[in-house]
């Protein structure tokens, strides 16, 4: 009979195979990164523009300009665009975030030459039809209202406002009236200065066809498709003074809680250590917050923490939803866990478990062509290189409880934390 109390040996997780992209340029100097990996004949293309909400002069400009590009161009109506992508079983996505506006495409290799002419047209010649815009804005507005019914959304919005102030692109200050204040001409203006070759780079990944560079040059390498590179204005963060905030949402059964503070950016030497510290506290299923507040107390279905890194700022946040009768107790426990990290060394066994877990995650981050491309962008978009990952790997193998306690003392001071509660 097998002795089940004896655990099979655990082998150290091997460093993943990191595939670096080959970087090239189109004829008009648009940088293209080719990440060749995978076995299926599938390609993912991302057309990335400096067209995020950092560059807006009116709220919603970035998101709606980006979204309107699928609603019609000089040679194709919105319906035709949809029809062609669906017919080829391809997926096209439009996303705008704080800094970037992206159009991404996943397609079987054999269909790319049918699809790129349409991608070219919708990127270079969107029509911004006023009727289409009205329909889109109306639908987005209704969706916005729905999202605003959720306590976690209300909480996150207030939290971003508390951290960044009312006049910062990282603060979610969109109101329902902003949808009515925007005209399709505002989008055309934003489009003109954002979506052109000088603001563009392309990420290609998958088991790509050798002719892809040529194909991209044909559609996007045109020397006449130019413009002036977008200027990234400096914006000042103005944190609010008051450390506790409440958003009232009557009849909410659960309340959402956010506890957090501004923190370092990805290029700071403390960043990787903070990732480990965050994992111990609330970054994985067996984290201290989960063990204490979900598994021991049963106050919540889930609680987690994250270190968020944006180009111009970083922040740290603990997030959960809980019945209103557990709100105070939950917050008390959160601060207790922060204090424990400041005052007590993390036991070796716990730290080893966290580092092993993160090593496994590290391998997952490089598993498959799209994950590899994502990991490239996770450094490249921040002006960092692959040495970031080497340092991370070395740190996972070397970090000591003392190092983490120092970080906790430096960054987990209660007085620096903001608490936002949304609920009844």
């Amino acid at each position: 009979m097998i002795d089940r109390t004896i655990q099979p040996p655990i082998y150290e997780t091997k460093k993943p195979l990191i595939i670096k992209p080959v970087s090239s340029q189109l004829n008009n100097d648009i940088p293209v990164h080719f990440l060749q990996a995978g076995t299926q004949e599938v390609t993912r293309l991302e057309f990335i523009f400096d067209a995020g909400l950092w560059y807006e002069d009116k709220p919603l400009q970035a998101v709606l300009t980006n979204a309107m590009m699928q609603e019609g161009s000089a040679n194709y109506s919105g319906a035709q665009i949809a029809e062609i992508f669906d017919f080829r079983g391809a997926y096209i996505q439009f996303v705008a975030d704080h800094h970037l506006g992206t159009i991404s495409l996943i397609s079987l290799n054999k269909h790319l030459h049918y699809l790129l002419p349409i991608v070219e047209d919708l990127i270079k010649r969107p029509s911004f039809d006023a009727n289409e815009f009205e329909t889109l804005a109306k639908r987005r507005k209704q969706r916005f209202l729905l999202e605003n019914e959720k306590v976690k959304v209300l909480c996150q919005k207030k939290f971003s406002e508390v951290l960044f102030g009312n006049d910062h692109p990282y603060s979610h200050t969109v109101t329902v009236d902003d949808f009515d204040r925007l005209a399709s001409s505002d989008l055309a203006n934003f489009y003109q200065r954002s979506y052109h070759a000088a603001n563009c780079q392309i990420m290609a990944s998958g088991n790509m066809d050798v002719s892809l560079l040529e194909l991209l040059n044909k559609h996007f390498g045109d020397l006449n498709w130019g413009g002036v590179k977008q200027f990234q204005q400096k914006r000042t963060i103005q944190q609010l003074q008051e450390k506790q905030r409440r958003v009232v949402k009557n009849e909410a059964i659960q309340s959402a809680i956010r506890v957090g503070r501004l923190m370092v950016k990805k290029d700071h030497p403390d960043y990787v250590g903070l990732q480990v510290l965050n994992t111990v506290l609330g970054g994985y299923f067996s984290s201290r917050l989960m063990m204490n507040i979900r598994e021991e107390k049963g106050y919540t279905y889930g609680i987690g923490s994250s270190v968020m890194s944006l180009n111009e700022a970083g922040y740290f946040v603990i997030a959960t939803e809980t019945d209103k009768k557990y709100v105070e107790a939950t917050i008390t426990e959160i601060f207790l866990e922060l204090r424990k990290l400041r005052e007590e060394l993390i036991p070796e066994a716990e730290l080893s478990r966290v580092c092993q877990y993160l090593l496994g995650e590290f391998v997952r981050d490089f598993d498959g062509p799209f994950a590899q491309a994502q990991s490239f962008r996770a450094v490249n978009d921040f002006g960092l290189g692959y040495e970031f990952y080497e340092q991370y790997y070395q740190l996972l193998k070397a970090i000591k409880p003392e190092d983490l306690q120092l970080l906790a003392q430096k960054y987990f001071d209660e007085d620096d934390f903001y608490t936002v509660i949304a609920g009844a």
Binding site: M1, Q7, P9, A82, G89, L146
Partner: protein, 412 residues
């Protein structure tokens, strides 16, 4: 063609091995053939509660997550009306840790009143978070109860009434385990960077000694044919009025299922689909509108659900949906349009093969229906469906008397 191997252990455990050497990882997936449909109407939510309890440790391994995380692993689980599925992924070097963990909790759990009480509370908070505190959170319980009078699909996995969870006793929980958690009621799927011989060896080593528990499941009552139109209207504090229509349709093994899937794709898969182009974009009656299958293994539902644009009434919305459904009954879908939805299904199959974990879950799902081999029959069945099939099936299922309609009105 998805190439995989099947083995069977002496205790009845089915073993499915799908090698994919493009990843350094392995997924180990244990699918138990028990879902919310196997619960007693007085004791609902047990399959899902059990999913939580399965992480509470065993006598041999008090902390499931500890060892897994040491091995660089991750795990999770989900419960549906048909099955409970547990999966973990580890770097290939540490595959045996997965076998050790999963076999031990199939053998026996370390039950305690304290652990049960905590997980009951977590599930109750989950219920609040998903059902009570979300706008539209009670739609599915309402619609299920309207559409099913007999079949246990009438309740959700979280349970019909949260008191069933509150009242669950330790003895009931133990009984549930020994009744359903057994090698002869499960399948073990390995996908990713795996070797067939090694998997078979490890499966025998760790799962081979778990006794066959001679699982016998009670027959599930079949839903009788619906005879009359059912309608329910509720008013809630939500931003938009919503309309839900559910039609009974065939089960997962029937050809009609595939035909319904194609009908739903023609109606609403992608921005070029009929309902998106006509009812959202042109007529501006809806801000969201979808047609889809509940995906259940026993005969399930074809659902049309939408949120109405401001100022549109339920009557107008309903009429517009019926025009689209009637058109499916009266006119053949043009060949090129049918080709489009089939192309999309085929492309999706290739995309999904890029993900070893997804493949493990797909194989688990087909094995739960009856046999994993079905995964390779899908495309041929879809390819064999003609426009005339869509027309006949649309005529059969889209009738008022087969429809359950939920009007979910926004309180003004």
């Amino acid at each position: 063609m998805v190439k995989f191997y099947r083995e069977q252990l002496e205790n009845g455990l089915q073993l499915i091995i799908y090698p994919d050497y493009s990843t350094p990882m392995v997924a180990l997936d244990v699918c138990y053939h028990v879902g919310a449909k196997n619960e007693s109407p007085e004791r609902t939510g047990f399959a899902h509660l059990f999913e939580h309890l399965m992480f509470g440790g065993t006598k041999n391994i008090p902390n499931y997550d500890d060892a897994l995380q040491q091995a660089g692993g991750e795990n999770n689980a989900y419960t549906t009306n048909d099955l409970t599925n547990y999966y973990l992924t580890v770097p290939k070097e540490n595959l045996e840790i997965g076998f050790w963990l999963e076999s031990d909790r199939m053998l026996e759990l370390d039950f305690s009143q304290e652990k049960l009480d905590i997980q009951k509370n977590v599930v109750i908070e989950e219920f609040k978070q998903r059902n009570l505190n979300q706008p539209y959170g009670d739609v599915w319980p309402l619609l299920r109860e309207l559409a099913y009078k007999v079949h246990p699909y009438q309740w959700q996995t979280i349970g019909k009434d949260i008191s069933h969870i509150e009242d669950a006793s330790l003895q009931e929980v133990k009984d549930f385990f020994y009744r359903f958690y057994a090698p002869d009621n499960a399948a073990l799927i390995l996908s990713g960077n795996v070797d067939r011989e090694e998997c078979l060896h490890l499966a025998n080593k760790w799962f081979g000694s778990i006794p066959n528990r001679n699982v016998k499941k009670a027959a599930i009552p079949m839903e009788p044919e619906q005879a009359n139109f059912r309608e329910m209207t509720v008013e809630r504090d939500v931003p938009d009025t919503a309309l839900y229509m559910a039609f009974h349709m065939a089960g997962r093994t029937q050809r009609e299922y595939y035909i319904c899937d194609l009908i739903s794709d023609v109606l609403s898969n992608g921005n070029s689909s009929r309902m998106y182009q006509r009812l959202i974009k042109e007529q501006k009656l809806f801000i969201e509108l979808d047609a889809y299958l509940s995906g259940d293994h026993d005969p399930g539902l074809f659902i049309v659900s939408g949120k109405l644009a401001n100022g549109v009434t339920i009557e107008q919305a309903k009429k517009a949906v019926w025009i689209e459904l009637k058109s499916m009954q009266q006119e053949l879908v043009p060949t090129i349009e049918l080709e489009k939805v089939k192309n999309k299904l085929e492309a999706n199959l290739i995309y999904s093969q890029m993900n070893y974990l997804h493949m493990a879950q797909e194989l688990a799902n087909f094995e739960n229906i009856d046999r994993a081999e079905r995964i390779n029959e899908q495309i041929d069945i879809y390819r064999s469906v003609a426009s005339a099939d869509l027309l006949i099936t649309a005529q059969r299922i889209f009738s008022e008397s087969n429809c359950s309609q939920l009007n979910y009105l926004a309180k003004k």
